[in-house]
Amino acid sequence: MSRHLTENLKGTVREAASMAPLAPSEEVNTLAPRRLVASLFRQSRLILGLTTLGVLITGFIALSTPNTYRSRGTFLYTTGSESVQVDPMLGGGAEGEAILGNATYVFQADGLLERVIEQPGMMQKLLRPTTTVDNAFLKITQWQTPEDIDFESEEARDAAIKVLRSSLELSKPRNTDVLEVAYTAGDPKLAQEILNVYMQQAREWHLSVYNDEARLELVESKAKQVDGDLAAAKQAHESFLRELQLHDFQIALATAVENAREEQRRLRDVEGNIARLESHIEQLSESLETIKPVIETEMAVPQPDPLKVRLEDDIAVREAKLVVLNTRILEPLARKNNAEYKSTVDEIAALKERLDEHLKTVKNVGTVQRVEVVNPEHTETNTALMKARLDLRGHRSELPFVTSASEESTARLVLLERKQAEYRDLEQAVARLSAEKERTDMQLSQALRKRELAKGAFSSLQQIDEASKPLEKDGPNRTKLVLMGFFGGLFAALGLVLLRTMGDTTVRSREDLDRLAGVAVLGTFPRLDGRNLRRHRNLREQST
């Protein structure tokens, strides 16, 4: 029993039982397979149309693209770290994977391509290719080329180089030193001819680059010139320093700045001291005039005491004698035992005792008298004044020397600052010329190395295989193109159908009406055309 029949019966039973219609399908938001298939059949014209369009477009491309034939030739790079270089003047070593990059640069260089197009008949072959095969497709594209081309014009040369560059292909099989060159053209013989000319010109051009004496001379003369310039710059630098009597300009400049600063500070100090002392001296002089040199004072003058004086003299004499005895008798024990020492000591003691008693009994009050003494303040002021004058004299004598030193240091600083720009220029010139010397030395060593290689007529590029004659066409693959167009159009159409179906909520069938909530489907009437009627009848028969 088909699914369609089952659904029909379900609907009919529900209707008969006066039951509510079926709930909306759970597949409302999904794309039912049946719906998709129906959509595919409904939009079959679209699918057919797009597929046909794809086939037509690719068919047109396939028909309008002429056959291409590829001719191949082979170069060999000989091994060796020196010999691998295609062009030593380019600097650096081309090794391993870099060989292809360098080779591509060299083999597509404008110089080489121009040599190729200058060969007799090449312009015509490139811009107006003829065909030796029955190539109808090539004839189709002939109409695009202008009838009259001026082969001498700049535009024609550029166009020829463009054709040559776009048709050439370079490849390097892995782990080999072989370089494969291929040329693609619309005619097999033409491809072979052009490639042969190209390979021949590539070898000749490569050799000419190797044997370039003129370039070596140029590098040598440049190196010599740079050497001379550098020596002159260094000489000028040394003269400059010598003239200024310096070893190092920067250090000298820094020192001059410091010195000038220091001398100026000293000068300021000295001048400041002089001013200060002059002011101080003036003050002291003024105050000295107001201070009296002597002053009167009351003083107690003691009465003369002859006994006291006599006793003190006696004591002094005996003490002097004792001093002499002390120097004579060094041992303390010996002194104790010496009669003269003992008697002297006893006499001193007795005299002192007698003096004490005398002083106790006699009270020498003395008399108070008015006497004139020197004013200490005056003395002090005078002393200060003299000192100040002395200092001032000292500073005044120092001033000319300090002034002169400051002027000298300032003049030196000004000179050095004026010369600074000149010094900087000389320094930079030396640095620049030193760097340039390094570069030219490197170029010279490479040029010399290259000359050594060229002496042996050694070329790293050797042709091992001539340009091959293509035996079959290289492209286009018309079948593949048409198939691509077919499947491309088909999938595009299917995609479009899918997109349109996903968003399509049009009521087309009983199921679509069934999905509407609360809508009972009472009947379905087909469109009354032959095929539709047959299908409707078949479906009805299947369901009964």
Binding site: S509, V521, F525, L528, N532
Partner: protein, 224 residues
């Protein structure tokens, strides 16, 4: 089985088409009865959303089908914008419903008896302003009077989206059915119109899908 049936364009259906249409009419009538029509309903309106969906032809074909079965059926053409029923039966279109509603003719004048076996016809007539024809309440009287004389009354209702008088017509009837043209409307539109019909208060019995196209061959349809 009635041999007189019409297609959507008003042409007589012939040959095997007659069988198919008749069969489907049978299914339609069975479903209508299952939905309770004729229990206490006599007048049924066939509505459509837009012109040319086959509501009138479906109503007429059902009338012819039932008439051939011995029922006494009257078909009322309420769509005055596209009055074709009289022409189909090669009758004069006036006087018709419009003249009756305008008070210019009697019910007897407007009914065309026995246009086919068991089927009487009330053509639309001619009206300059169909909408105002239905505002007087006269249509209700027509239905009432016809209901007494016939077993069943089918009315072709003007399109819901084109004629404002369609709601006036539907509200006067006992039940309504929506005829949907296949491949014409989105489900949202159909759902909206069924909701609109329900809101009028007249029992909505269901929908009929017309002009359905079977895109998929039966063999492939069987597989899916």
């Amino acid at each position: 089985m009635s041999e007189l049936l019409f297609d959507k364009d008003g042409k007589v259906v012939k040959g095997r088409r007659v069988d198919v249409v008749s069969t489907e009419m049978g299914y339609l009538w069975a479903n209508l009865l299952n939905r309770g029509f004729l229990n206490n309903q006599k007048s049924l309106g066939f509505c459509s959303i837009e012109d040319d969906e086959g509501a009138a032809s479906t109503a007429l074909n059902l009338a012819l089908f039932l008439g051939a079965k011995g029922r006494r059926v009257v078909f009322v053409e309420a769509d005055m914008h596209r009055a074709t029923a009289a022409k189909q039966f090669k009758l004069s279109d006036s006087p018709g419903l419009a003249e009756f509603l305008a008070g210019q003719a009697s019910i007897v004048d407007v009914v065309r008896p026995q246009v086919a076996g068991g089927v009487d016809l009330v053509p639309a007539g001619r009206s300059e302003d169909p909408f105002w024809s239905f505002t007087g309440g006269g249509f209700g009287k027509v239905i009432e009077r016809l209901g007494g004389s016939y077993d069943v009354c089918f009315v072709s209702v003007p399109p819901l989206n084109r004629a404002p008088e369609s709601t006036l017509v539907v509200r006067t009837l006992d039940a309504s059915v929506l005829v949907v043209g296949a491949n014409r409307h989105r489900s949202e539109v159909v759902a909206q119109q069924t909701a609109h019909l329900r809101a009028l208060g007249t029992p909505f019995l269901g929908a009929v899908l017309n002009e359905m196209v079977h895109d998929v061959p039966p063999l492939i349809a069987k597989l899916t």
